[in-house]
């Protein structure tokens, strides 16, 4: 039965795609600041541009669609350059920019609570709604980030269908490599909302490497440094014989050019604006300051100094803000420095020396800044490659992948091997996260782990799926909770719950579980749950390094305590279950040993707990053997003695 049950995986989207001579499949870069759509034409990926601007959201002749969505009073939706340039200044609350930062994020995440946000959020009516941000926009509507993203996708879909002269067969949509499960789910859902068959979610750095590698016939080990408007990824890939193998990935899904704008705007306000007279939470003011900061930042890419005039309030004369490049660099340097840790770790995880790299590929608009280029050159000890358009390369890679998936131009030689960005695990007793799949494992991948009951007559399992590097569940991101019920009462440690994790090629997790004694099973598609703020997610990996040692100690202590509890409970249960198998001397010895375990458990010394447990093991060994023999006679025939021994919790309580 096992094979059928174990791979009971939800249908990967009902495909309506039929093989066709021409693949109307496209690649979409759904970016924080700008989005693009590309196709493969005559074997080459090209980004589609707005022809004449009529009915399109871009600027004529330009491939970029600004990722800005305006909701008008009457229900109309305007996407792109018009929304950004014409509508956002006057309707800051109804015009959503950088929606990607909100994907898969909840009301309590940092993104929804930070300073200088022009948006208004709809209050969550239920606890479940807390898990998804909702923007309150014109016309009394509340829209989720998935819906906002879907509006952008619809525009790109329309552009592609006009260019292809027919309906879209499907699309590969790119996501930051460091997106967690919830953010990936949200992106796929946005595609569905837009009526797009999502063939694959492709990691942005991998897409860039694919486009670059095929174009330049590059071989070797490359780093992709992808700093976009809102997200940062670092991936190390090996390119060899058409295989694009991701060795390691890392990043920060809330770090990008937007954060530079924010520190610049905050500094402008702190230095030049009389907050007594100006409300820095007023949406028009916030929008203007953020836009002014962005304009200054862009001007300072080429120039050493720049200035801009901003009307702080409608009736006031404009205020002039001037900034030099040196001043700006001093402001953004601390934000940029947050890239350093992920870069070092990715290099270490890939097991390479920076000197062994064949090149560093820059992706994302923020990599145009001279400061960022200097940072990259220093971090890798070499100048980055400069012969790639950092805005278009991701969409082009996605188009290549889409063409391959849809069975277009035969590229049987190309193989993408991508990885899981963050470890996936389950909560076990004591709030410890048991990792089933480690970060940087090649996808698709799977793992199985068997768990058992903690208490006698326990009839259900609560499964809590988490993602992150830390040892304790409280420090990881909660992905989902579900319950397996209806297990017949058995002694503690007797039930066998096998949990299976499968991560598909999109990097999305599915979990199934079945209780092996009864055959009861449950399968879920992990839907993101709640509990942690964005800042906590960002902190996860950093902390896991800072606290690795303390984590291990804490974990060992927690585990020892859990073991103590379970062994005392087992011994107590056994004594009341089978008093007839117990001699007076045994009873005294076991009772004393149990008291010692409980005493040691109260202290913080895991070695003492260990010693007491061993003492209890020793004291109850005879009794456990008698009980086990009886259990075997009563119907555990066919199981190995070792297993029953272990299940009764009376055998070797071996170290890890």
């Amino acid at each position: 039965m096992a094979p059928d049950v174990l791979f009971q995986i939800a249908e990967p989207g009902e495909s309506r795609v039929k093989h066709a001579c021409r693949t109307n499949a496209v690649g979409i870069d759904l970016g924080t600041t700008n989005s693009l759509v590309a196709i493969v034409d005559a074997g080459k990926p090209i980004c589609l541009t707005a022809d004449d601007g009529a009915g399109d959201a871009g600027v004529a002749g330009d491939a970029i669609v600004p990722s800005v969505v305006h909701y008008a009073e009457g229900g109309d939706v305007v996407v792109g350059a018009d929304a950004r340039d014409r509508l956002a200044p006057d309707h800051p609350r109804d015009t959503i920019a950088s929606v990607k930062r909100f994907m898969g994020r909840g009301m309590r995440d940092a993104e929804a609570t930070r300073r200088l946000t022009p948006y208004r959020f709809a209050p969550a009516a239920t606890a479940a709604e807390e898990g998804v941000v909702r923007f309150a926009v014109a016309g009394g509507r509340a829209v989720t980030p998935m819906e906002v993203s879907a509006e952008i996708l619809k525009v790109l879909k329309r552009r592609a269908e006009e260019a292809l002269g027919g309906p879209l067969a499907g699309a590969v949509i790119t996501v930051p490599a460091y997106f967690d499960d919830g953010q990936r789910q949200a992106t796929r859902d946005a595609g569905r909302l837009a009526g797009i068959e999502v063939l694959r979610l492709l990691n942005e750095p991998t897409a860039a490497a694919l486009a670059y590698g095929l174009d330049k016939q590059a071989e070797g080990t490359f780093a992709v440094f992808d700093l976009g408007g809102g997200t940062f990824d670092i991936s190390i890939l090996k390119l060899e014989d058409g295989v694009f193998e991701v060795k390691a990935t890392g990043g920060d899904s809330a770090l990008g050019g937007d954060d530079f704008d924010r520190v610049i705007a905050e500094s402008m306000i702190d230095r030049h604006v009389d907050i007594g007279r100006t409300d820095d939470t007023e949406p028009h003011f916030v929008r203007r300051m953020l836009d002014a900061a962005r304009a200054l930042k862009e001007a300072l890419t080429a120039d050493a100094e720049a200035s801009i005039e901003v009307a702080l309030a409608d009736a006031e004369a404009p205020t002039r803000f001037a900034l030099t490049r040196a001043e700006m660099e001093a402001l953004v340097a601390p934000v940029l420095a947050r890239c350093a840790g992920p870069v070092r770790r990715a290099i270490a995880d890939a097991g390479i020396e920076p000197g062994a790299l064949s090149g560093v590929i820059l992706v994302g608009g923020a990599t145009r800044m001279p400061l960022v280029r200097r940072f990259v050159a220093e971090a890798f000890g070499r100048e980055p490659l400069a012969d790639i358009d950092p805005d278009q390369v991701v969409a082009m890679g996605a188009a290549v992948q889409a063409d391959m998936l849809a069975g277009g131009a035969s590229r049987d030689d190309v193989l993408l091997l991508d990885v899981v960005p963050l470890s996936l695990g389950l909560e076990t007793m004591g709030g410890v996260a048991e990792k089933l799949i480690y970060k940087n494992t090649t996808v698709p991948c799977g793992a199985r782990q068997t768990f058992t009951t903690f208490a006698d007559k326990q009839t259900g399992f609560d499964l809590h799926v988490v993602q992150g590097e830390r040892e304790l569940v409280a420090d990881c991101r909660s992905l989902a909770r579900f319950t397996l019920t209806g297990i017949p009462p058995m002694p503690a440690g007797m039930a066998r719950l096998e949990v299976e994790f499968t991560v598909d090629a999109d990097g999305i997790l599915r979990v199934s579980a079945h209780e092996q004694v009864t055959g009861r099973q449950t399968a879920i598609e992990v839907k993101p749950s709640y509990g942690l703020t964005d800042a906590e997610v960002e902190r996860m990996i950093l902390d896991s390094f800072a606290n690795a040692e303390q984590d291990v100690e804490t974990r060992l202590l927690v585990e020892q305590r859990v073991e103590a509890d379970s062994i005392v409970a087992a011994a107590r249960g056994a004594m009341s279950d089978a008093p007839e198998l117990l001699s007076d001397a045994d009873r005294d010895a076991i009772t004393r040993a149990m008291a010692d375990v409980e005493l040691a458990r109260g202290g913080g010394d895991r070695h003492a707990i260990r010693a007491a447990i061993e003492e209890l093991d020793h004291a109850s060994k005879e009794f456990a053997t008698r009980r086990m023999n009886r259990a075997l006679e009563q119907g555990f025939r066919g199981r190995s003695v070792d297993k029953v021994d272990a299940e009764l919790g009376a055998g070797k309580a071996g170290g890890r």
């Binding site: 840790g341 698709p444 991948c445 799977g446 793992a447």
Partner: protein, 216 residues
């Protein structure tokens, strides 16, 4: 096996001999057989990697994105199995642990979940580290901790180097024993393997602050 697609005999390969449809994964296959390798420690890693990639090209979900759902499921299951097998085989320590378990040595601990395929009814011999060894390793840990507390990075590095040397030596012995197939040697190898775990933990701790730069 009867092919799910054409209902004829599919043969034992990944693809049906009659119609070419991708067949479901064999869950009982072990890591070595999945990669078409002999189940031994000494393997040609480059050839194994080439085999892994060649098979990946054939069964990867990217090849079945628009195929029949049953073929897609088979592709996912096979690629999961293939990736797991390669993960097990490419790393010397994992490979050794896997082979020891396969030979019936019970090695508890971290890698259990990476076990591929069956083998439930095999004879198992439980292995535990000798008390003298444990005592020594505990003392070494205490010495290491004291050195770290005192900020004596030279001593930490020196101790790490010694343990690394021991681990390397153990690994040579394990490798030899694994491919000898002799029961007595295997049992000794299993004990060495247990020791490797302790060495690894020791090194992780020693490198926690000496690793310079890997930390936050």
């Amino acid at each position: 096996m009867i092919c799910w697609s054409c209902q004829r005999e599919a043969g034992s390969e990944a693809f049906c001999v009659a119609c070419g449809a991708l067949q479901p994964a064999n869950d009982a296959a072990d890591a070595f057989s999945v990669l078409g390798l002999p189940a031994r420690y000494g393997i040609d890693l480059a050839a194994a990697e080439a085999a892994y990639k060649e098979q990946s090209r054939q069964v990867h979900p990217d090849r079945f994105a628009t195929a029949d759902p049953r073929a897609r499921r088979a592709s996912l299951a096979r690629t999961v199995q293939l990736n797991q097998a390669w993960l097990t085989v490419k790393d010397p320590l994992r490979r050794a642990g896997y082979l020891l378990e396969r030979a019936g040595m019970f090695i508890g601990g971290d890698d259990k979940k990476s076990t591929v395929g069956g083998g439930d009814d095999k004879r198992t011999a439980e292995v535990s580290a000798p008390p003298a060894f444990l005592l020594e390793i505990i003392e070494l840990h205490e010495e290491l901790r004291a050195a770290r507390r005192a900020g004596d990075s030279v001593k930490v590095a020196f101790m790490a180097e010694e343990i690394r040397g021991r681990a390397a030596q153990s690994m040579v012995g394990i490798a030899e024993a694994l491919d000898s197939g002799e029961r007595a040697k295997l049992e000794k190898a299993a004990r060495s393997f247990m020791a490797m775990r302790y060495y690894q933990r020791f090194l992780d701790e020693a490198l926690a602050d000496a690793g310079g730069g890997h930390g936050a």
